[in-house]
Amino acid sequence: MTAARTIDRVFAAGLLLLGAYIVRSAIAYGYMRDAVPGPGFFPFWIGLGLAALSAVNLVRSVRGHERLDARFDRPTFLKTLAITAIVLAFVVASQWVGMLVAIGAAIPAIGFVIRRQYTTRFAVTMAALAVGFPLLAYLLFGVYLRVPLVRGPFGF
């Protein structure tokens, strides 16, 4: 069984559980109130539909009726996870060092995740981006659009 097929089944099962959770929550919110639809009316049908469609997808996948052309190649999958992790690390780090310093570190990190080959020229390019991008971001967002950027202990 290919990785894509396994992930397809896990994803369909996850959506099936999500549908069940939505239905359960909808009942708790109240399906009807005084003979008119309550806060749970719409979520109930959405959850039910999602659970039913996901069950169909799961059965189709298990029976082998699902044709998936795409492949989950390991390097791209890991790069996706790594880039997502770097963005999340940027979110956390911004609270401590400020957004500009955090993005200055995140950009070369993402660059090296994508490239994964060290050359002096690439390192210099990344260093230039690490300095240049925060400067441009400060001018565009901080000065021009007057966005209150999260600042760090250095005052920027």
Partner: protein, 505 residues
């Protein structure tokens, strides 16, 4: 005629320096976005939405729309030079455009793409001006019941938009509708699905999810795709269209622009389908159909005129009915809401200056694009060769700052990153992101419509079929759901056995 007078006035208003600047920025970014493989107009508008909204009012929408039709122009560049479609509507251009490039006629193909895009855009704008008011006036007859039925119809078009797997398309639609329900109940109820997080009380911003789903996930997917082919050689002078080609393609350009407008105006069908229809028609009625696929200039003219005409057609359901016809117009809808405008039938009555000035910026933008595309083609082509390891970190940087700028919230950046990773998995598993975004935008409107209608009728469901317009839309919805299923069943039905066939004959 009144519409054209209003359009002329709108064009005049659109020449105001702030609007010219916003349009220029939009079309330049759109051209660049269109050139980037994997990042189409939807991603471009989504990424730039927070920045463009900072322009404010008309300038914001002029900038966003500029990205949309600029990307339509730019999408042809990589299609022709590299054989890589910058976005889905550019796929048909690859077939003959890249074949011409391999024959050393890249300039001829690029020139035709610019000219065809301009003609398609110009015809699209004229039709947009002529038809948007009648459509909007007809839409004024719509009450909550009719709008509910119309939204049901738009959502049913997931059968077209939902990709190859319709079941997965509808599952994605329902996930989008569920995300749209997060936060306070719109009719005075409790908070729903917030998991106790105060950040979710106001709901999940549409833009945040769209940026992740379109911008980030498509970048992730493209990390695994290798760029193939070498850039074709061309001379600057050769970018100007060949006069003989223009004469030869005149009927194809006119026909493709007209038909594609009416295909593109239907919510859910969009520019991609219109290019296929235009290409098929051009081939069918050509005197040399065998040339198609091997470098027919009409094979470039038809889809390029079509996708630009359809991109303006998609504005009719957006502005007149408040219904996004595609992923890109869904982002534009978000932009309109963010600048405090509710698109719909009343918009033409309450904000005519805004509407016609925006339409005027479309015209100005179309003219700008002809000059810019010719001048910028060498630069645009060079962007394709910027390594992803340099380009993508910069784009992700813009995305994170842009998303933060919407609500000044780092939680939004977290949601966008999660949407990007989940969107990557969805794309790989054939779950189209378009239904999810449509569900997120239209789901809350549908819920409000259904619940308000049922409150008025004291829970009597028959109110939905008592109104003739609503009934018509529900019948169309049923047809949109059933017809593709029947067509698919017929297509997959086993062919009659030879002996049976001969016996019957």
């Amino acid at each position: 005629m009144e519409s054209f007078a209003l359009l002329l006035d709108g064009i005049w208003q659109a020449t105001a320096p702030p609007l010219l600047l916003a349009t220029l920025i939009g079309v330049v970014i759109g051209l660049i976005v269109g050139v980037l493989p994997g990042i189409g107009p939807a991603a471009g508008t989504a990424i730039m939405l927070p920045v463009a909204v900072g322009f404010g009012g008309t300038a914001a929408i002029a900038g966003l729309a500029g990205i949309y039709y600029g990307a339509m122009f730019g999408g042809a560049v990589t299609s022709i030079l590299l054989g890589i479609p910058g976005d889905a509507p550019s796929v048909m251009t690859v077939i003959d455009g890249h074949a011409l490039a391999r024959q050393g006629q890249a300039g001829r193909a690029l020139g035709m793409s610019v000219y065809a895009s301009f003609i398609g855009g110009a015809i699209g704008i004229v039709l947009l001006a002529a038809l948007s008011v009648p459509v909007a006036q007809a839409a004024l007859a719509f009450g909550p019941t009719e709008m509910t039925a119309l939204i049901c119809f738009a959502l049913s078009l997931v059968t077209v938009l939902g990709g190859r797997n319709v079941v997965k398309g509808f599952a994605a639609l329902l996930v989008g509708m569920w995300i749209g329900m997060i936060g306070l109940d719109p009719i005075g109820g409790p908070t729903r699905f917030t998991f106790g997080l105060a950040e979710l009380f106001d709901g999940v911003d549409f833009t945040v999810v769209a940026v992740g789903l379109y911008g980030l996930s498509e970048m992730f997917v493209s990390l695994s795709e290798r760029t193939t082919g070498a850039p074709a050689e061309y001379r600057f002078r050769s970018l100007l269209p060949n006069l003989r080609d223009l004469v030869e393609c005149r009927s194809v350009l006119l026909w493709s622009s007209l038909t594609s407008f009416f295909v593109g105006v239907v919510p859910g069908v969009g520019a991609t389908a219109s290019t296929m229809v235009a290409y098929a028609a051009a081939k069918k009625y050509s005197r040399n159909p065998d040339e198609f696929g091997r470098g027919a200039i009409k094979g470039v003219a038809a889809p390029e005129a079509a996708n630009n005409s359809a991109s303006y057609a998609a504005m009719i359901p957006l502005f007149a009915l408040g219904i996004p016809a595609s992923g890109t117009t869904a982002v534009l809808l978000g932009g309109l809401l963010m600048v405090g405008l509710q698109p719909g039938p009343l918009m033409f009555a309450t904000n005519p200056d805004f509407v016609w000035t925006v339409f005027g910026t479309f015209w100005i933008g179309n003219v700008m694009l002809v000059a810019l595309t010719v001048l910028m083609i060498p630069f645009l082509a060079a962007i394709v060769f910027v390594p992803t390891a340099i380009l993508y970190p910069a784009i992700i940087g813009i995305v994170t700052f842009g998303v933060y700028s919407i609500n000044y919230s780092m939680s939004d950046v977290t949601i966008a990153a999660a949407a990007g990773a989940i969107g990557y998995i969805m794309l790989k598993l054939d779950y189209s992101p378009v239904p999810l975004v449509l569900g997120l935008v239209l789901g809350p409107l549908l819920e409000r419509g259904v619940r308000r209608t049922l409150i008025v009728s004291n829970g009597d469901l028959s109110i939905f079929v008592r109104q003739p317009i609503a009934l018509a839309f529900f019948l169309l919805t049923a047809a949109a759901l059933v017809v593709p299923l029947v067509a698919r069943r017929r297509a997959t039905a086993p062919a009659p056995r030879a002996d049976t066939a001969s016996h019957l004959s």
